[in-house]
């Protein structure tokens, strides 16, 4: 909300630098988002409020006049002007006079440019300065005539002091609805600064016949309209509002329209109560020959009305309307109707001040997309006690500035006034919440200036009985009062302590530990972690199959209001986004080795919330080694790089009994993919991505990408606790090589496990160091060569003993797999 300080000063005084004022407001939750200095460019030494003393014709130019001005200097000064709104013989107008040397805007430049005023001779007459237009001062684009100030403008005052102002842009949080007005800000400011708050003048001279019998008001739906009050002002003369009011409205961000509308807006900004003026002629009676009638009721489904912004709206039956005897004349709390608005020939005004249910106003304003100033205020809550006060204020202003005759009295329909809230506030509440010791009197002294009624008493302990003023709709419990005390005491003045309460029980978090372990291991191996959005699109998921077969969205969680179609479905795999990230990076770098740990979202039968398992994806593509002078052309990552990463990961985590089985998955190369399992549980899959899938993701043809996806919780479940120490033998190890030929169908890992089983603990190391397929072993066969190391914990093994072990292995392999031993 924009708060011109010149306006705010009418209700509160302060005596501190602007920065301190802003700080104090900001600390108390009225955050000053921006400070605008209006009129900063008006030099106080050269631009003055002046009075026209006399005007005479320029001797040599019909369209120019010579103006003699008094601007507070010892002598008057005569300047030349061509302004069409100054005429020979005029006197007494208040104008803005700029002396030689002043800096003004150039009204003829296309862009903002300043010029410095020089002494000049116009058609033979010396002119030391000029009278200014609004455009030259940057107030508006008006440049046909000069600016004429109100009669009470103080001659000899720097124009900046008279017309300039500082405008604070306050960020009003939802709990500060009361501060959506000058008086609301002023009341808080006064309490914060320790100064006095003044309410606006509430005098009213009502000379017309009583409103009673001239209009009729009823509320059909009091649940949405707790109060409706009205005043009647007759014989108004529509015209511009006074200059000071226009000035305030403009600085506060509202456009002046006419005196009646401006007064309603002015009082709204001043007091926070939106008002609405109906042209009395347009408010129809509900019975033949009756008086103009207002009925506040819910709309009929499909009912229509044009609002004063010219837009036609259709209502549903949850929307509250202001109607007359015939049909709608306004949307309650949101905007008035076009047909009942005040126009230039309006003479009688029915003035509404009402209170509406804030939720209803919010909903209506949002659904009809009318974010009016009134709706903004009603949508946050307006004090129902404000109606009569603001009617008095507005009616008096209409009497003064629109020549209206105010009818005596108001119509006030207020079926169920709320009870006044009283909160008992034991002093210990403050201690418990804020950690400070305050006496009941100290607390009362802090709350009273904010408008709270305070009575100090003693119950079980010293207590303040706090009466909550009607405008504090946000205060209903003790904690709310604690905040008020903190705001006045100063958040910064509160002590700073560390929790004295007992340290709660501390526990390990295995899920988090596993995740951090995984991350550390993968980073250690040389992979970079990425994060991607949780939302995806089905076209991207479809690309995971070679032919990009469409994916059925059934079974996916879907956003009702996606920002873009690209991010519409909650992901169920990380694979497609991983491939997107790979493709993107391959455009810039030769080597992509990445992983992501993130949730996927799976609907659960019979449960409201979905399952959110954490998945790990790993993707490798491009050069295995960074390119350098040492390795100009490194081979690309392949399946075994990925498998090596997965094995290292599992080994570090202590996963035992790790198994890989060849697998067919649409995303993978049909012959280069495997499932990963341990302890009988499938943990995930890994493989080289199918070339057509790569192509779907715009990965260059021929570029191999290896991809794995692993369930983190399943993996963690297989991770063993700390390893047991194995004594290290000091005895020498005996190494033996073993080369054998087996059928292609016998998996190498099965052979290795068999060797380990037969040899038992004496076999301390086994390395498969060669795999051969080809003519020497024949079709359908492969040769596997192992290096074996035997070692006993407590004695030196002879080579004979090692050979005996080797022979037992050979025998088993021959019997079980028909292995042939190569020399």
């Amino acid at each position: 909300m924009l708060v011109p300080l010149g306006w705010l000063k009418q209700y509160v005084t302060w005596d501190m630098p602007l920065d301190d004022l802003c700080d104090r407001l900001t600390y108390a939750g009225l955050e000053v988002g921006n400070v605008e200095h209006v009129g900063e460019e008006w030099d106080r030494e050269t631009i003055w409020v002046a009075e026209v003393v006399s005007i005479r014709q320029h001797p040599d130019a019909d369209r120019l006049v010579l103006v003699t001005l008094n601007y507070g200097a010892d002598e008057t000064i005569e300047v030349v002007t061509g302004a069409p709104n100054l005429h020979v013989g005029d006197t007494g107008q208040k104008v803005v006079f700029a002396t030689v040397g002043s800096r003004l805007r150039d009204p003829y430049a296309d862009t903002l440019q300043y010029k410095t005023l020089k002494k000049s001779k116009i058609r033979g007459v010396d002119s030391s300065g000029m009278v200014c237009s609004e455009k030259e001062l940057g107030i508006s684009e008006e440049h046909t005539g000069i600016i004429i100030l109100p009669d009470d403008a103080p001659v000899g005052t720097p124009f900046a002091d008279y017309y300039g102002d500082t405008v604070l842009d306050l960020d009003v949080t939802p709990n500060l609805a009361r501060c959506f007005s000058m008086t609301g800000v002023a009341r808080d400011a006064a309490a914060l600064l320790g100064t006095t708050f003044h309410m606006p003048n509430d005098e009213l001279l009502a000379e017309g016949p009583s409103i009673v019998g001239q209009a009729d008001i009823s509320i059909a739906d009091p649940d949405l309209c707790p109060r409706y009050s009205a005043a009647l002002i007759r014989s108004v003369k529509i015209g511009p509002s006074p200059d000071w009011m226009q000035r305030h409205l403009t600085l506060a961000g509202m456009r002046p329209i006419n005196n009646i509308v401006d007064i309603t807006n002015y009082v709204m900004l001043e007091m926070g109560q939106p008002l609405h003026a109906f042209d009395m002629r347009t408010v129809r009676p509900d019975v033949e020959g009756g008086v103009p009638t207002i009925i506040v009721r819910r709309a009929h489904e499909g009912e229509q009305m044009a609002t004063l912004d010219g837009n036609e709206h259709t209502f549903d039956q949850d929307m509250l309307l202001i109607t007359d005897g015939v049909g709608p004349v306004g949307i309650a709390g949101v905007m008035g109707g076009l047909d009942s608005e005040v126009t230039d020939d309006t003479t009688d005004v029915l003035l509404e001040a009402a209170s509406f249910d804030f939720i209803s106003v919010r909903r209506t304003s949002a659904m009809l997309r009318i974010p009016s100033e009134a709706a903004q205020r009603f949508g946050r809550g307006v004090d129902p006690e404000l109606t009569l006060v603001t009617l008095r204020r507005a009616a008096e202003l209409m009497r003064l500035y629109a020549a209206g005759t105010v009818a005596e009295g108001f119509i006030d329909v207020y079926p169920n006034p709320p009870e006044t809230k009283v909160i008992d506030l034991p002093v210990s509440t403050i201690k418990r919440s804020l950690g400070i010791d305050l006496s009941a009197q100290e607390i009362a002294d802090m709350l009273s200036p904010l408008g709270f009624g305070c009575e100090v008493t003693v119950r079980d302990e010293p207590t303040v009985l706090v009466t909550v003023p009607s405008f504090r709709l946000d205060v209903s419990i003790r904690a709310d009062l604690a905040e008020e005390v903190a705001r006045i005491y100063g958040y910064d003045a509160l002590p700073t302590t560390l929790i004295a309460d007992e340290m709660p029980r501390q526990e390990r978090n295995l899920e988090l530990e596993t995740e951090q372990n995984l991350r550390n291991i993968l980073v250690g191996i040389g992979l970079t972690e990425v994060l991607t959005y949780s939302m995806t699109n089905l076209e991207s998921v479809a690309k995971l199959s070679p032919k990009a077969a469409p994916v059925d969205g059934e079974g996916y969680l879907r956003l009702a209001n996606p920002l873009t179609r690209e991010h519409e479905y909650m992901r169920q795999t990380l694979m497609n986004t991983s491939l997107e990230v790979v493709a993107k990076n391959l455009r810039f770098v030769d080597r992509v080795a990445i992983f992501e740990m993130g949730h996927v979202y799976l609907p659960r039968e019979g449960a409201q919330l979905p399952d959110e398992p954490n998945l790990l994806s790993i993707a490798l593509a491009g050069s295995r080694e960074e390119r350098s002078w040492l390795a100009n052309a490194s081979p690309d990552f392949d399946f075994y790089d990925l498998k090596g990463v997965v094995e290292a990961l599992c080994q570090h985590l202590g996963v035992e009994d790790l198994r890989f089985e060849a697998a067919q998955r649409a995303t993978y190369h049909p012959g280069r993919a495997a499932t990963l399992s341990a302890g009988g549980q499938v943990l995930g899959t890994l493989g080289e991505v199918h070339p057509l899938v790569c192509r779907n993701f715009d990965i260059p043809d021929g570029q191999a990408v290896c991809l794995a996806e692993i369930d983190v919780a399943a993996l963690a479940a297989q991770a063993q606790a700390a390893s047991r120490f194995m004594p290290i033998s000091r005895m020498p190890a005996v190494k033996q090589d073993l080369a054998l030929v087996v059928d292609e169908s016998v998996p190498a890992d099965v052979i290795q496990r068999t060797i380990q089983q037969v040899a038992g603990p004496l076999l301390v190391e086994i390395v498969l160091f060669d795999v051969y397929r080809g003519a020497q072993v024949g079709a359908g066969k492969k040769s596997l060569a192992y290096s074996l190391a035997f070692q006993a914990p407590n004695k030196t093994l002879t080579s004979d003993q090692a050979t005996r072990q080797r022979n037992r292995i050979v025998k088993q392999l021959q019997e079980q797999f028909g292995a042939e031993i190569r020399a």
């Binding site: 804030f358 418990r432 419990i477 958040y491 988090l512 040389g526 991607t532 920002l563 909650m570 993107k584």
Partner: protein, 342 residues
């Protein structure tokens, strides 16, 4: 004989000095010290001298032999040294060439930053507690004292799912409810981290997905002063020991009193710069005492328990700490961004 020995010694020494390689050395050894070498032959002939000459010749012969052996060893060592020096000299490497690149991995900056928060808060007894990213309206809003159509709902633009009542959590705060239900009736301190979502256009400064971390302490004797203490402690470890903190009143429906905390600008130290928009202060987190309604919704009696909560955006913290100007990098997957941080 003595002259003969002298002559052999002089000649041997001269030849030894001329030996330039290990081959020369071996030839010399054979020529003098070998089985048929000159020195061996001369020593052998001493036995055939007259008895009175033998002691002197024997003594002399021994001295010469020892002298030659020592000379040989010295020469051998010198030549070996020379040979090694030559080999080392030829094996010099160009130390200016770059080393062999090692593949270095990088954890995501946001997870690194989160880990830092866990570490600092862990020392004050706050344990990581996770809760779902897909929430219902009740837990994300209503239990947190934000009824439907409440004006405070304007503070969060929400992604809704097509399943009625389900949404993507707009903040980590629903975790407060989950944590209270988990620990009730014990006092506890937790950190609630994770992805959060807002229905907002993605720009340099705003993301539809971002990370928050929230702290919550519930106990029998926890005050706003404790909140200030914990946050000051946290901020100084996170942003530097010299950091100043200021607390301002603010509004969150689930806190009362509510506060925002600013640190003096880490770039300009409070002088004013574009990053702090010339205020000298950077807003880093929202906080407050847990609202009694929220405590009650979590199963804690607000007459007996109090608590505080605070929350911050991890992206914002990382952007401030590392001078990152565009929030979109975090979810870009661009390794050229990610590998800048380790």
């Amino acid at each position: 004989m003595l002259e003969e020995l002298e002559r052999i010694k002089a000649q041997a020494e001269q030849e030894l000095a001329q030996a330039t390689g290990l081959g020369d050395l071996e030839a010399w050894r054979l020529a003098y010290m070998g089985k048929k070498g000159a020195m061996t032959t001369a020593l052998r002939s001493i036995g055939s001298l007259p008895a009175e000459e033998r002691p002197a010749a024997g003594k002399m012969g021994n001295l010469v032999r020892v002298a030659l052996e020592e000379a040989f060893q010295a020469r051998q060592q010198a030549l070996e040294q020379e040979a090694m020096n030559a080999e080392l000299a030829s094996g010099a490497l160009d130390v200016h060439l770059p080393g062999r690149p090692q593949s270095i991995g990088h954890a995501h900056l946001l997870n690194e930053t989160l880990a830092q928060v866990y570490e600092i808060m862990g020392r004050m007894g706050f344990q990581v507690f996770r809760s779902p990213e897909i929430e219902d309206d009740v837990t994300n809003f209503q239990m947190l004292n934000i009824p439907p159509h409440h004006p405070a709902r304007d503070m969060w633009s929400t992604f809704y799912l097509t399943v009625p009542g389900l949404l993507l959590r707009t903040h980590t705060s629903p975790g407060q409810i989950h944590a209270m239900h988990r620990y009730n009736p014990e006092p506890f301190r937790v950190i609630l981290p994770g992805k959060t979502y807002r229905y907002e256009q993605v720009t340099m400064r705003s993301e539809q997905t971002f990370h928050q971390v929230e702290g919550l302490a519930v106990g029998k004797d926890i005050t706003m002063a404790d909140l200030k203490g914990v946050l000051t402690n946290f901020a100084r470890q996170m942003f530097g020991q010299e950091r100043q903190l200021r607390f301002r009143a603010s509004y969150f429906p689930f806190t009362e009193p509510g506060a925002e905390a600013d640190i003096d600008c880490i770039l300009c130290g409070g002088e004013g710069c574009p990053v702090c928009k010339y205020t000298g202060w950077l807003e880093i987190l929202g906080s407050g005492m847990v609202h009694p309604v929220v405590l009650r919704n979590g199963g804690y009696d607000p007459e007996k328990y109090t608590g505080f909560a605070f929350g911050m955006g991890i992206e914002r913290i990382a952007m401030l700490l590392y001078g990152i100007t565009d929030i979109r990098y975090f979810f870009s997957g661009d390794v050229r961004f990610l590998r800048q941080f380790s």
